[in-house]
C-alpha cells in the first residue's frame, strides 16, 4: 500500500490535482482574509475608532501625491488609442464622431480603469509594503498592546480615503484624457477642435457619469482594502513583505477588472 502511495504521488495527475487544491485553498484563505478585514474595518468606522488626522493624511496620499502619475498614464494611453482611431475615422468620414467616441471611452472605461491601474501601482503597493513592514517588525502587535484597534487606525482611514479621493482623481484624469484626445486628433488627422468638442456630448449621458463615479468609489475602496489586508497578513521578514506587495497588486488588478465587468453586465447588457 505504501509503495502504491509513493508511486501515486509521483504521477503528474496527482501533482496537478494537489497543486490545484493548494491554489484553491490559498484563494479561499485570501478571499476570507479580505472579507474579514472589510467587516472589521466597517465595524471600526461605525464605532468611531478612526483618526481624522490619519484620514486627511491618507486623502492627501491618494488624491494629491498620486495625481501626476495618474494623469500621465491616462494622458499617454489616450494619445496611443486616439492616434490610431482618429485617422481611420476621419478617412471613413466619421470625423464628426471622434469626440463622441473619445468621451465614451474615457468616461465609461479608460479614465477609471487606467486611473485604477495607476493607483494600484503607486498607492496599493506602498500601502501593502508599509503595513507588511509594520507586521514583520511587530508594530501591529504594539498597536494591539496599546489597545488601539489596527482596523480603526490603519485600515479605516486608508479605505475611506480611497473611496473619497478616487472619484475626483478619475474625473480630473478623464478631463485630461479628453483634452489629450482633442490634441491628438488634431495633430494626427487634422480634425478641428471645434468638430471634436461639438460631438463630445453626443456619446455620454448622466448615467455614464454616475457609473464612472460609482466605479471609482468601488475601485478606491477595493484597492485600499485588498492592499491593507495583504500587508496585515504578511509573515516572514523581507521576503514576506515582497510576497504581500506582489499579492496586493495582482489581486487589486483582478478585483477592479471584476468590478468593471459587474458594472458592464449590470448597466450595459
Amino acid at each position: 500500500m505504501e509503495l502504491y502511495k509513493q508511486v501515486l504521488r509521483q504521477t503528474v495527475t496527482y501533482r496537478l490535482f494537489t497543486s490545484i487544491l493548494a491554489n484553491v485553498n490559498d484563494f479561499s484563505e485570501t478571499l476570507g482574509n479580505i472579507t474579514i478585514c472589510g467587516i472589521k474595518t466597517i465595524k471600526a468606522i461605525f464605532k468611531g475608532e478612526m483618526s481624522s488626522k490619519e484620514l486627511i493624511e491618507q486623502c492627501e496620499r491618494f488624491g494629491i501625491s498620486s495625481l501626476p502619475i495618474t494623469l500621465s498614464i491616462v494622458g499617454m494611453t489616450t494619445v496611443i488609442i486616439v492616434s490610431q482611431i482618429a485617422q481611420e475615422m476621419v478617412k471613413q468620414g466619421g470625423g464628426n464622431m471622434v469626440g463622441a467616441l473619445v468621451s465614451i471611452l474615457m468616461v465609461r472605461e479608460l479614465g477609471v480603469i487606467m486611473s485604477g491601474f495607476a493607483i494600484i501601482s503607486m498607492i496599493g503597493s506602498s500601502l501593502a509594503s508599509e503595513i507588511a513592514t509594520m507586521r514583520v517588525t511587530e508594530q501591529i502587535d504594539a498597536l494591539r498592546t496599546l489597545k488601539v484597534n489596527p482596523f480603526g487606525y490603519l485600515f479605516a482611514p486608508r479605505v475611506l480615503a480611497g473611496m473619497i479621493m478616487m472619484p475626483p482623481v478619475v474625473i480630473i484624469s478623464s478631463f485630461i484624457g479628453v483634452l489629450m484626445g482633442a490634441l491628438t486628433s488634431n495633430l494626427v488627422s487634422g480634425l478641428s477642435y471645434r468638430a471634436f468638442f461639438d460631438s463630445l456630448w453626443l456619446g455620454i449621458f448622466a448615467k455614464d457619469l454616475f457609473i464612472c463615479i460609482a466605479k471609482a468609489f468601488c475601485f478606491g475602496g477595493a484597492i485600499a482594502l485588498i492592499s491593507c489586508s495583504f500587508g496585515y497578513h504578511a509573515k516572514g521578514g523581507a521576503k514576506g513583505v515582497g510576497i504581500a506587495t506582489t499579492g496586493a497588486v495582482v489581486w487589486s488588478f483582478v478585483a477592479i477588472v471584476i468590478i468593471d465587468m459587474i458594472f458592464a453586465i449590470g448597466f450595459f447588457f
Partner: protein, 239 residues
C-alpha cells in the same frame, strides 16, 4: 493581584509549545522567565497580553493595562519619539478625552526623563541607537500607568554597559509604578540584577522555580546546563 497562570497550554501546528504550565507572580514582583530559544518564553508573554489565543488554561491579571516592551522595540517608525510615547493618549477613545495636548506634553516629558532621555522628542526612531530605542519603548509602555509590564528580551543585542542601564530602568520602573513584571531573558546579568523569582522553561514545561541565587547554586541538571552553557545535559539543542 499580580499575574496568575493556571494550566496554560498552547500548540502551534503539531508542536506543543506550552504544556500545562502554572505559576504566580505577586503584586509588584519581577519574574524572570528563562530558557533556551524556542522554549516558549515569548509565547507566555503573548498569551498574557492577548496577542495570541490560548488553547487551554486560565490567565488572571490585575485590572488595568498590560504593557509590552518588545525585543526590537517595535516603535512606530513614521512617528517622532513624542508621538510614539503619546500614541495611546492620542488614539485611544477612553483616554484622549481626558487629556489636553499640554497635559500630554507634560506626561511625555516626565516619561522621557524617567528613562533618562530628555530633549529627544522630535527625533525619529531611525535616528536613535538601539539602547535609546529600547528606553523610548519603555516610556511608551508606561504612559498609561500599567499594572503589568512584560519585557521580551530587553537587553538582547545591547552591549554590557547598555544592558546594565536597561536593567536599572527595569528596576526603576517597578519602583516608580509598582507594576508586576515578567522579564523574558537568557542573560544571567539581567536575571541576577532584576528578578525576584525565576522560572525556567524547557520543552513546554517548567523545569525550575526559585530565586536567582537558587538558580545559580541549584543541583538541578537543567539549571546547571543552562548556567554553564553546556551542550551536555538533559536539554537537547538542535544543531
Amino acid at each position: 493581584m499580580g499575574i496568575e497562570v493556571k494550566n496554560l497550554t498552547k500548540t502551534f501546528g503539531e508542536k506543543k509549545v506550552l504544556d500545562n504550565i502554572s505559576f504566580k507572580v505577586e503584586d509588584g514582583e519581577i519574574l524572570a522567565l528563562v530558557g533556551f530559544s524556542g522554549s516558549g518564553k515569548s509565547t507566555v508573554l503573548k498569551l498574557i497580553s492577548n496577542l495570541v489565543e490560548k488553547d487551554e488554561g486560565e490567565i488572571i491579571t490585575s485590572e488595568g493595562d498590560i504593557a509590552f516592551v518588545f525585543q526590537y522595540s517595535a516603535l512606530f517608525d513614521s512617528l517622532t519619539v513624542y508621538d510614539n510615547i503619546a500614541f495611546a493618549l492620542h488614539e485611544r477613545k477612553d483616554l484622549k478625552k481626558n487629556f489636553t495636548e499640554k497635559e500630554i506634553s507634560k506626561i511625555v516629558k516626565e516619561k522621557l526623563e524617567l528613562v533618562g532621555l530628555k530633549g529627544i522628542e522630535n527625533l525619529y526612531p531611525s535616528e536613535l541607537s538601539g539602547g535609546m530605542q529600547k528606553r523610548v519603548s519603555f516610556a511608551r509602555a508606561i504612559v498609561t500607568e500599567p499594572e503589568v509590564i512584560l519585557y521580551d528580551e530587553p537587553t538582547a543585542g545591547l552591549d554590557p554597559i547598555a544592558s546594565t542601564l536597561i536593567e536599572d530602568y527595569i528596576l526603576r520602573l517597578r519602583n516608580e509604578t509598582k507594576a508586576t513584571s515578567i522579564v523574558v531573558t537568557h542573560q544571567m546579568s539581567t536575571i541576577k540584577r532584576t528578578a525576584d523569582k525565576v522560572i525556567m522553561l524547557y520543552d513546554g514545561k517548567i523545569v525550575f522555580r526559585g530565586t536567582p541565587d537558587e538558580l545559580e547554586n541549584s543541583d538541578n541538571e537543567y539549571t546547571k546546563q543552562f548556567i554553564n552553557a553546556s551542550l551536555e545535559g538533559p536539554m537537547k539543542i538542535l544543531a
